[in-house]
């Protein structure tokens, strides 16, 4: 039988069993020796204190502390003057709204406390997202409190903003826009019907106006292909849940492609294997060059070079009998595609093929494939089509030419930043200088705004009114949850005002609200409501509204027309550029929660890094390396390579990436903003300029013919969190495969402590070996029980008494449902006031995240499968951390919680040392300025003051959770504040606690429902039902920690034939 541990690894170092990893794995707190650390911070050099000074400071400190504490400050309790009926201080109110950013759409409930939004929850009433969220939606609340936002209207000259007042700016801009001038409004996808109406009104007032829509990461070719095949430039309505075989050519549909929450939710439906024997699941084949988040979830990956994508699509079509392919793909892929074709043919009517290709001909071929496979009407249709991408790249390219020729008098930028995110941003900027009037309606200063003349800053999503129609017939309303923080104005109001529209009453307190409501009033009768008011109220309260029947239009009958697919390049090296899960197209660049969110696959933070292939030596199974880079990643040191393309040189910190095809490298888009706020400054590099434009004007997100240099230096502050807090990784030792950390930690004689060398961390296997997996799990479980029975502490006896009544909290995590999207990580940061620490701190292993998502590879080294494992405090009932605390700061509750009392903690860190799961985090610095004596330490990341000391930013803090100060350990509390709240609700209503009363932040954020929290004593509850699955195990079961988190083994549906 296969041993499940020995085939798993996290990176090249443990594949090789490098000494660095052993070093790191051994120590809980990695870093320099104290003297060295201090000298690197230049404290010692600057320090001039001697013993006498020390005594003086001590004396003064004591005296000052005494004096300071003698007089209690007078605190005031400031009530409302007129208390709003809807607000009860101390009680959170939830408002239904939607987070919209270009084509990103997430219907949400916004939690507000005393009128300030502090947390985003998914809206379960939405038929699209079903209550799921993304990391970006979770983090949007922090963007609201961004103190780098534009704070009032003003003029801009040479990139410098001068504050003005709205009346003057309105007058000036209105004066420049005359009815005869050629005006262009540049925007990203606009999904709001009312905003479109506003555009039309604006066009009415200024007849020579054109709205130019583009998307920085575009689906333009797909829109064009559908226009050509079906007469509608839209994204089809996909049903991943109805597909048995899913093929994706490069589309990261679980992470960032078009509507990831919706697709993830659908995708997971067919991949639930909780019943073990007899379980069925769909097949997912990803065809790509670098390991994307979706690729990491795939059963099989077929590796192709970026330029081969068109050829691969054509080859698949050829194998399906749909005409010949003009180009060949690499031999291995060709073979795999042939096998794939026969698999698809066996599943006609149950297949779905998608592609992120931005080449029209390629997208038509994809349509043809779907047509041949009978997907139209089965797994995709043109009923409730998606409007989440509307940009046609050719339009914006047309605008560049138009501006160059001087044919444009005025440009209004509607939340768009083409100077940064176009492949030819420079050309755009140059052409823009020929336009006499440039107006920016943006949230903050960006590359494009800095080249404008006037800034008319807009409200943040959470301050604004609005509506959105992400899919045909499915609506959502956006309502403000806070009064505008700054002197900004709703963008639509600005346009209507400039257009001098008679339909808006600008003297009213909420002009656009009235406009919007009026517009919706017209929809009431068609929506089947008796009155507009009833319709409005219901839609506003629910946040979403779907028209009753959206006819299913099948599509099909695809004609392959003109246009040519991309020709595979013969160049030695190719780069692909991808949208990262956190940073999007770059407009989240100033959001530290997202910057510090580890990339799901690379596990890196604070920047975009070059992912290079690992170059594996088959004969001895050792890593040879891509130009020898990446050996010290484990130590927080990355090697830098110089990438040259089109005579532009950029130096990148480099990560060797499993599953990256030889001869290719990948870099994330959306980084390297040059005009951005404090947080986003100098984070990563911009690769948009390396994208190319094809004959149809569509942007191509890859580049051929780039060269990559030898190592040119080292990045000493490189944060790759996969190697932090690590355990249970495998490696070679004396010809045997063992867990590397144990080699150093527990050698007993020549052998190892049987129970620990073979640790229970991950169970994973393929569906075809389900019996073997179950057998293996049973064996391990019995072995663990056998070992645990030998304990001195008879757990069964005392636990029976302790947890027989009341609550006994527990959590179930389905590793098969976890796609690694990291929405939970950001939700946890938002809920629990987890500080952002910055790049340098992360590189020193000081990241504070309470919930990490470990990434493990298994299978073939060259093209492995991946498991994501969310790990938070396991709340062991036999917790090793508790009995080593000298001050009893961490202890156990009768409800099975491992509690942490910060005010008791003296920072010995014994608990973190003794935690086998490595989930405890130590506050090395005063990240949140919660320290009683502030300013008695170095600046964090040379920021002065530190990020969380900004009073505007601090408004995002959750008042129900302590803001921890320096020198204490913190960790996941199972959202104790939510448990207390949920219990209280049940008590006050005099009823038993229900499943719905308590949900942790990570649970509510998850788009696929991978996390279930509940009471293990509630036998009817969903948690208890889920734990019964034969695939459920506890991590490190054999060390008898009796943890409260239950994992469900990962099962893939791999077809070995495709890898051959």
């Amino acid at each position: 039988m296969k041993n499940h541990q020995d085939t798993t690894w996290i990176g090249i170092t443990d594949k090789n069993n490098d000494p660095e990893l052993q070093d790191v794995a051994q120590s809980e707190f990695v870093g320099l020796p104290i003297a060295e650390a201090l000298s690197s911070e230049k404290i010692v050099e600057n320090a001039s204190a001697n013993r006498r000074d020390f005594l003086k400071y001590l004396g003064f400190g004591l005296g000052a502390a005494t004096v300071a504490s003698c007089e209690t400050p007078v605190r005031h309790a400031i009530p409302y003057v007129v208390k709003p009926d809807t607000i009860v201080p101390g009680v959170a109110s939830y408002y239904a709204s939607a987070i919209v950013n270009g084509g990103d759409f997430c219907p949400v409930l916004i939690k507000t406390r005393e009128g300030r939004p502090i947390k985003i929850e998914g809206n379960p009433m939405s038929s699209i997202t079903k209550g799921g969220t993304t990391a970006r939606a979770q983090a949007s609340v922090l963007s609201l409190y961004d103190s780098d936002r534009l704070k009032s209207a003003g003029t801009i000259e040479n990139g410098t903003f001068t504050k003005g007042n709205w009346a003057d700016i309105d007058k000036a801009v209105a004066g420049k826009l005359t009815a005869s001038s050629n005006i262009r409004v540049v925007c990203n996808t606009v999904m709001s019907p009312t905003t479109k109406k506003v555009f039309n009104e604006f066009k009415g007032a200024f007849p020579n106006t054109k709205v130019v829509t583009y998307d920085p990461i575009s689906s333009s070719a797909m829109l064009q292909a559908n226009q050509e095949n079906f007469g509608e430039a839209v994204i089809p309505n996909y049903h991943f849940d109805k597909a048995q075989v899913i093929v994706s050519f490069g589309a990261d549909f679980l992470g960032s492609w078009i509507s990831p929450i919706e697709y993830s939710h659908q995708y997971i439906k067919n991949r639930n294997v909780s019943k073990g024997k007899g379980a069925k699941m769909s097949r997912h084949i990803q065809v790509e060059s670098g390991m994307s988040m979706t690729g990491s979830n795939a059963d099989n990956r077929i590796m192709i070079k970026p330029s081969e994508q068109g050829a691969a699509i054509a080859t698949l079509l050829e194998n399906l009998g749909g005409g010949g392919s003009p180009y060949k793909v690499n031999a291995k892929a060709a073979k795999a595609l042939k096998n794939l074709a026969s698999e698809l043919q066996a599943n006609v009517g149950k297949c779905l093929v998608v592609s992120n290709s931005n080449n029209k001909a390629e997208q038509i071929l994809v349509n043809k494939i779907n047509d041949l496979l009978g997907s139209y009407g089965a797994t995709m249709d043109f009923g409730a089509v998606s409007y989440q991408r509307q940009g046609i790249d050719a339009e914006i390219q047309g605008l560049v030419k138009e501006m160059q020729s001087g044919g444009v008098d005025a440009v209004l930028f509607w939340n768009a930043n083409p100077v940064y995110d176009l492949p030819n941003g420079d050309a755009f900027a140059a052409a823009l200088s020929k336009v006499s009037t440039k107006v920016s309606m943006a949230l903050s200063m960006d590359e494009t705004t800095s080249l404008c003349d006037y800034a008319m800053p807009t409200h943040h999503n959470l301050e604004a009114w609005g509506d959105v129609e992400p899919k045909r017939g499915q609506y959502a309303l956006i309502q403000p949850t806070i009064a505008p923080l700054y002197n900004t104005r709703q963008g639509e109001s600005s346009l209507l005002m400039l257009a001098n529209s008679p339909n808006i009453n600008n003297t009213s307190e909420r002009p656009y609200y009235e406009y919007l409501k009026q517009n919706w009033g017209a929809m009431a009768t068609t929506a089947g409501f008796s009155s507009g008011r009833q319709f409005w109220d219901e839609a506003l309260s629910n946040g979403v509204y779907a028209t009753k029947a959206s006819a299913t239009v099948a599509g099909g009958g695809v004609q392959v027309g003109g246009g040519s697919i991309n020709k595979p390049s013969s160049a030695e090296f190719e780069l692909s550029f991808y949208e990262t899960v956190n940073m999007g197209n770059g407009n989240y660049a100033n959001n530290p929660w997202l910057i510090e969110m580890p990339d799901p696959v690379m596990r890196t933070v604070w920047g975009n890094y070059l992912a290079v292939p690992i170059n594996w030596n088959e004969s001895d199974g050792r890593f040879e390396g891509f130009k020898g880079v990446g050996r010290k990643v484990v130590k927080g040191i990355a090697d830098k390579l110089k990438v040259t393309h089109n005579s532009v040189e950029q130096t990148y910190s480099t990560v060797p990436q499993f599953g990256q095809m030889n001869g290719t490298a990948s870099i994330g888009l959306g980084y390297g903003r040059s005009v951005v706020g404090k947080a986003g400054k100098d984070v990563g590099q911009n690769v948009y300029p390396w994208c190319t434009i094809d004959a149809d004007g569509n942007t191509q997100y890859f580049a051929t013919g780039a060269t990559v240099s030898e190592m040119v230096g080292q990045d000493d502050e490189f944060g790759c969190v996969q190697y932090h807090h690590t355990y249970g990784v495998s490696g070679q030792y004396d010809g045997e495969t063992v867990n590397v950390d144990e080699v150093d930690i527990v050698p007993i004689g020549k052998g190892y402590q049987g129970a620990i060398t073979d640790r229970t961390v991950l169970f994973k296997d393929s569906l075809s070996n389900m019996d073997g997996l179950l057998e293996d799990m049973t064996k391990k479980r019995n072995n663990a029980k056998h070992l645990n029975d030998a304990t001195l502490y008879p757990f069964e006896e005392y636990s029976a008494e302790l947890y027989s009544q009341g609550h006994h909290w527990g959590m179930h995590i389905d590793l098969n449902s976890c796609t690694g999207c990291s929405a939970c990580t950001v939700a946890c940061m938002a809920e629990n006031n987890v500080p952002v620490v910055g790049n340098r701190e992360v590189s020193r292993h000081h990241e504070m995240t309470w919930l990490r998502i470990d990434r493990y590879y298994y299978g073939e080294a060259e093209n492995p499968n991946v498991v994501f494992q969310p790990v938070m405090c396991q709340h062991c009932d036999n917790a090793p951390c508790e009995n080593v605390c000298p001050v009893n700061a961490t202890n156990h509750s009768s409800e099975g919680l491992n509690q942490m009392a910060y005010n008791r903690c003296v920072g010995t860190r014994y608990c973190a040392n003794n935690c086998p799961y490595k989930v405890r985090r130590f506050n090395w610095l005063d990240y949140t300025s919660a320290d009683l004596f502030g300013g008695n330490q170095n600046a964090i990341n040379s920021e002065d003051p530190a990020y969380y000391t900004d009073n505007i930013v601090r408004m995002v803090l959750n008042p129900d959770v302590t803001v921890r100060s320096r020198g204490v350990i913190e960790k996941c509390s199972f959202c104790a504040q939510r448990l207390q709240q949920g219990k209280l609700t049940a008590k006050a209503e005099g009823r038993r606690l229900r499943d719905n009363d308590v949900k942790t932040a990570c649970q509510t954020a998850c788009p696929t429902g991978a996390i279930t929290f509940g009471d293990r004593n509630n036998k009817e509850g969903s948690l208890v039902q889920k734990i019964k699955s034969p695939l459920v195990y506890r991590m490190l079961d054999e060390v008898n920690t009796q943890s409260s988190v239950f994992y469900q083994a990962r099962v893939n549906n791999k077809d070995e034939k495709l890898d051959a």
């Binding site: 504490s69 003698c70 209690t72 007078v74 605190r75 005031h76 309790a77 400031i78 009530p79 409302y80 003057v81 007129v82 208390k83 009860v88 201080p89 101390g90 009680v91 027989s804 009544q805 009341g806 609550h807 202890n891 509750s893 009768s894 409800e895 919680l897 509690q899 942490m900 009392a901 910060y902 005010n903 008791r904 129900d960 959770v961 302590t962 803001v963 509390s973 104790a976 504040q977 207390q980 219990k983 209280l984 049940a986 008590k987 006050a988 209503e989 005099g990 009823r991 038993r992 606690l993 004593n1017 509630n1018």
Partner: protein, 490 residues
């Protein structure tokens, strides 16, 4: 005979006798000490106080002199003289006594409108005795503090119990000191005698001064001093920032005696968060306006205090309307409105016509009151009188403590007064309880959970079973985890 003489004499007889004698002295000392312990009944009256608070105070007045739901308990033993057993039975279960037909009991029952006194069958004899001891003590004024009057009420109540204990400690200390001294003498003498017997007697015997200046004694004293100083320092350090009895001046001289005491406005009418939020909520000015739109003159301060509310919210008491655009109004025009109101009211009181000129006294009053309004409602950071009233917060918990009023008021059904004291008798509100963690925990240890009728607690099956089986009479907050850190700290 003095001690010294006794010893000298005994020395001259024989050692055995002398040792016996010193043992006798010891015995006497022990006896004295023992008496000093047993002679105080404070312990059981204290217990009685706790019991009374827990079981009786809901219905019987604490001053033992006035009726409440139940009769005043002062002098209860005289009333039941000679029938103590029946009294005890009545306390345990009054209905049984009434059913037995005892005429006094029946009369009492009828006098109080046949309201049934809760049965307390679990009370032991000595517990009842303790309660009666406390009742007598309170009635005769021999127990606890004398009823205090005036402004320092809070301070007085808080301090008294401790001084009692201190006296006890001092007495104990003195007695133990004496004992130590005696013992030291005895040892010294015995040593001397031993040496005399061995034949190498020193020239003189150790004097008292020698003993007191010996290394041992000085060492002990230093040790004791350090322990004492440490103890006091730590205790005081723990108490730092605690604000029991804190009674700051408020921007408006709001009297709870008037509102909650005399007018009997329910606490939660104004503090409407208490039942549904973690905060009890300081009422907004518009809550005040519910009544003070009509009641425009205060019984204590006339227009001086009430006008502050109007100035805060922008209400014109002359026209009975809210002033439009008040937020952006100049200070002078605001002043004009309210000084006119104060002036008019003054004239009305003095029987002057509104058209009459203002008297000098009147003008002074108007100026004073307006200054009062301005100084109460403005601060360094707030220039206009418009806006929230800056009440001074009295009850402050540290940031890492999560206390929920809803939990205690709605679920636990705890009376406000349990923690806040008799606010309805406070002209100036002060912090009644120490709000220390020890205080919280103590209450959690003693308080029963409202198990009955709340289905939530059905989750605690074993406790319910134990209660049914009679193995358990109550479930305290502690029993369901009320002492665990993360119940309040997270």
């Amino acid at each position: 005979m003095t001690l010294r003489k006794c010893w000298i004499k005994s020395m001259s007889t024989n050692y055995k006798q002398m040792i016996q004698k010193s043992l006798f002295f010891n015995y006497i000392l022990v006896l004295i000490l023992g008496l000093s312990f047993s002679s105080t009944y404070a312990a059981s009256a204290d217990e009685g106080k706790a019991l009374f608070k827990q079981y009786c105070a809901q219905c019987h007045n604490k001053n033992m002199k006035d009726k409440l739901t139940g009769p005043a308990l002062g002098g209860v033993e005289e009333r039941w003289e000679g029938r103590e057993e029946l009294l005890y039975a009545w306390i345990r279960n009054s209905q049984e006594v009434i059913a037995s037909g005892d005429p006094y009991s029946v009369a009492l029952y009828n006098e109080y409108n046949k309201s049934v006194m809760n049965p307390f069958t679990f009370l032991e004899d000595d517990q009842i005795e303790s309660i009666l001891l406390y009742v007598n003590g309170m009635y005769e004024g021999t127990y606890g503090p004398k009823p205090v009057t005036g402004e320092v009420a809070g301070v007085g109540v808080a301090g008294k119990d401790e001084t009692n204990n201190n006296f006890l400690y001092i007495a104990l200390f003195v007695i133990l000191g004496l004992l130590a001294l005696v013992l030291a003498r005895i040892t010294a003498n015995l040593n001397y005698l031993a040496k005399v017997k061995e034949g190498n007697a020193p020239a003189t015997r150790g004097t008292l001064a020698d003993i007191l200046t010996s290394k041992g004694v000085i060492g002990f004293l230093i040790f004791a001093l350090i322990v004492f100083a440490g103890y006091t320092t730590i205790n005081n350090a723990i108490d730092l920032n605690r604000q029991q009895s804190y009674a700051p001046d408020q921007p408006i001289k709001f009297s709870h005696t008037l509102h909650a005491g005399q007018q009997k406005i329910d606490c939660q009418y104004c503090h409407d968060g208490a039942r549904r939020s973690k905060h009890s909520v300081i009422p907004a000015a518009n809550t005040c306006m519910n009544c003070h739109k009509a009641v425009k003159k205060g019984s204590n301060y006339g227009t001086a205090e009430l006008t502050k509310i109007y100035a805060s919210i922008g209400f014109d008491p002359i026209t009975d309307t809210y002033i439009e655009g008040y937020k952006d109004m100049e200070e002078d025009s605001i002043k004009a409105i309210f000084t006119k109101w104060i002036g008019d009211t003054y004239k009305e009181e003095k029987g002057l016509a509104k058209t009459d000129g203002m008297t000098k006294d009147g003008q002074r009053l108007v100026d004073e009151q307006w200054e009062g309004i301005v100084s109460s409602l403005t601060s360094d950071t707030k220039e206009s009188v418009y806006g929230p009233i800056p009440w001074v917060r009295i009850h402050n918990l540290p940031d890492h403590v999560y206390f929920s009023h809803k939990q205690h008021v709605t679920v636990g059904k705890v009376e406000c007064q349990e923690c806040h004291g008799k606010v309805e008798e406070m002209d100036v509100v002060y912090q009644h309880s120490p709000l220390s963690m020890g205080w919280c925990i103590n209450c959690h240890r003693q308080t029963s959970v409202q198990f009955a009728d709340n289905e939530y607690y059905n989750a605690y099956e074993s406790y319910h079973e134990q209660m049914r089986a009679g193995d358990r009479d109550k479930v305290t907050v502690e029993d369901i985890g009320g002492l665990e850190c993360q119940k309040c700290h997270y």
